[in-house]
């Protein structure tokens, strides 16, 4: 999937007005343990900060956590901003509890459809473990240890 040389580096943070950061914290520990450089931005992170951090560490991927239910709204436009910033092929993941209505959250194909439309490469439910996230990114980056 990735067209570039993997750099083993990720940006992790919780987007928008979302204050949840425990999931991101767990992810940070796991990615560091897996040998990644991590820019961990905490919570309540505006889109632009993700991009700035990605440029700064030359990130392979941005891992957007969204827990509070408005991820479908907060993630709009991120892919475009990435492209504008020259991060054309950066991998975008979203994860958490990304939709406030149960109708959507329990209809996972619909969640996937929406995030694909938003230009994300993958989206994860909150049952995804940190190890699962690491494994997925490694696979997408073609990293075999």
């Amino acid at each position: 999937m990735s067209k570039r040389q993997a750099n083993r580096s990720v940006v992790i943070g919780t987007i928008g007005a979302d204050a949840h950061m425990i999931g991101g914290w767990v992810l940070e520990k796991a990615f560091r343990a897996a040998g990644f450089t991590v820019a961990f931005l905490g919570a309540v992170v505006p889109q632009q900060e993700f991009i700035n951090a990605a440029i700064e560490i030359d990130a392979d991927a941005i891992l957007v956590s969204s827990m509070y239910g408005m991820g479908v709204l907060d993630c709009e436009g991120l892919r475009q901003k990435c492209i504008e910033a020259g991060l054309d092929d950066i991998i975008l993941y979203a994860g958490g509890t990304v939709a406030a209505p149960l109708e959507i959250e329990k209809n996972w194909p619909e969640v996937e459809r929406r995030f694909e439309e938003l230009g994300f490469d993958r989206v994860f439910p909150n049952t995804c473990t940190a190890e699962g996230a690491v494994a997925a990114l490694k696979a997408d980056l073609g990293i075999v240890d």
């Binding site: 007005a17 425990i22 914290w25 909150n126």
Partner: protein, 485 residues
């Protein structure tokens, strides 16, 4: 000690100036509530027979424990439909009350985004915000909701600045507000200095007091949900310290909302100790006439994504609130792991908890050695922190709080707030009680520190391995991972 903020009651002049210049202009709907007299009169009428504080007193007198479900959806129709459903199908009325969630854009004063969310919800025919955008809808819609519900209501719009939300809620006859400061910064904020947060909240507290003084008793939430993963000592400290800030502004009814760690004895100890110390400290500072009610807020960590496990959580959290003799048990629902609660989910919780109350017959955890020890440990920690604050602040709790956070001797784990040092490390012991593995710069009395470490040693022994960081991480998800996954 060059803090701007002091724990001093806002003068009326100052209050109304802030109201006019800072609060009401935050969004266009502020204009609808300019006339405070009209607001108080309307609130009085609308909450007649459904007053939050009075309901608490009545329930306590009768020995009835209330239930408090939580609900919040984008559109007013969804709200009314949901409240009605839970009150009738779930049997919430008459021995219940509501916590209504606003959405997180509203909480961050991003009313433009909230407006877009309303639009989007209409278009999609679904609730796309995680709560009801009270400010965008304004006071008349809030009154419509008030009329539709049979039980008292309070608003949970917790974040930096809930002033305009609370203004609208109170004017609509919802009779709850918040006594917040450290709680909010720890839970929901990123940048705001504590001084500023205290200043903002002095307004909200004063507002609640003004309504109370004018004949509409307002009961504020003084809460310690914090990061959802805090020691009971820290939680109780947050509540006790905030009680002084609220009481100074004239609040007469305070609901102590205790985030539960799901450790029965420790949670009961937290609830008892924090109420006792609130009374004591308030009395010491001359606020002798504040009344306190208590509630258990269900576990604020990761919930399990399946019905039966979620029901076990609902039951155990309610059981703790019952055994602690709380005035009310707040409820989460089977939807917790997935999304904002549905009306069906909340109705189910009410049924479950109500039946639990029935079969538990109001039994509470008797006084016992173990409980006394936990209480003593929490009390020691809280007293140490309180005295240190009062010392540092020269008797001013607001100043002391700010200094304590700055210096890092007031500290907890996992806050998104950058002013929190986050040096402490917290872990569960062999009985699930939450302990300091590393208290960082928190000035724990030696006795308390040793007690916590001794308890953790018990876990290491039970599991036959050294304490390690993996345990900290695993603890975070201990209640959400289903067997076999």
């Amino acid at each position: 000690m060059d803090k701007q903020v002091k724990n001093v009651r806002l003068s009326d002049d100052r209050f109304f100036k802030i109201r006019r210049e800072e609060v009401l202009p935050q969004w266009e709907t502020g204009r609808q509530i300019e006339d405070l007299d009209e607001c108080v009169a309307a609130a009085k009428e609308l909450s007649e027979g459904k007053n939050y504080a009075r309901r608490f007193m009545e329930a306590r007198d009768k020995g009835v424990q209330l239930l408090t479900p939580q609900f919040g959806r984008t559109l007013t129709e969804y709200m009314i439909e949901g409240l009605t459903h839970v009150e009738t199908e779930g049997g919430l009325a008459p021995d219940g009350m509501w916590i209504i969630f606003s959405d997180s854009y509203t909480r961050k004063l991003d009313f433009a985004k909230a407006a877009a969310g309303i639009e989007r919800s209409r278009r999609e025919g679904m609730s796309m915000l995680n709560g009801w955008p009270i400010v965008n809808f304004g006071v008349e819609e809030a009154r419509r909701i008030r009329r539709a519900s049979q039980v008292p209501m309070t608003l949970n719009s917790t974040d930096e600045d809930g002033r305009l939300s609370s203004e609208i809620a109170l004017a609509a006859g919802w009779n709850g507000a918040n006594t917040r400061s450290l709680q909010e910064c720890i839970s929901h904020c990123r940048d705001i200095p504590l001084e500023e947060e205290i200043r903002i909240n002095q307004y909200e507290s004063r507002l609640a007091a003004i309504y109370t003084e004018r004949g509409v008793p307002i009961c504020t939430h003084n809460c310690c949900n914090c990061t959802g993963y805090d020691t009971p000592g820290y939680r109780a400290f947050v509540v006790v310290s905030q009680s002084l800030l609220g009481a100074e502004q004239g609040i007469k009814y305070m609901f102590l909302e205790h985030g539960l760690n799901m450790s029965l004895i420790q949670d009961v100890a937290l609830i008892k100790t924090s109420e006792r110390l609130c009374r004591e400290y308030c009395a010491r500072f001359g606020y002798g006439d504040v009344d306190f009610f208590t509630g258990g807020y269900p576990y604020l960590g990761a919930w399990p994504p399946r019905l039966e496990e979620a029901h076990a959580m609902i039951a155990w959290n309610a059981a703790i609130a019952i055994l602690a003799g709380c005035t009310t048990a707040i409820l989460k629902s089977e939807d917790e792991a997935f999304a904002t609660p549905t009306k069906e989910g909340m109705a189910g919780s009410v049924r479950l908890a109500r039946h639990l109350q029935k079969v538990a017959w109001g039994q509470t955890l008797p006084d016992c050695e173990e409980l006394r020890t936990e209480e003593a440990m929490i009390e020691l920690e809280v007293r140490t922190l309180m005295e240190k604050c009062l010392d540092a602040g020269d008797g001013d709790m607001a100043v002391g709080l700010c200094l304590g956070v700055e210096a890092g001797w007031i500290d907890t784990m996992f806050s998104p707030w950058r002013h929190n040092k986050g040096r402490v490390l917290v872990m569960r012991d062999a009985q699930g009680a939450v302990r300091y593995w590393d208290p960082g710069d928190v000035p724990l009395p030696r006795e308390v520190k040793e007690y916590h470490l001794e308890k953790l040693a018990g876990r290491a022994k039970k599991e036959g391995r050294e304490l390690d960081f993996q345990m900290v991480t695993a603890d975070l998800q201990f209640a959400s991972i289903l067997p076999g996954t």
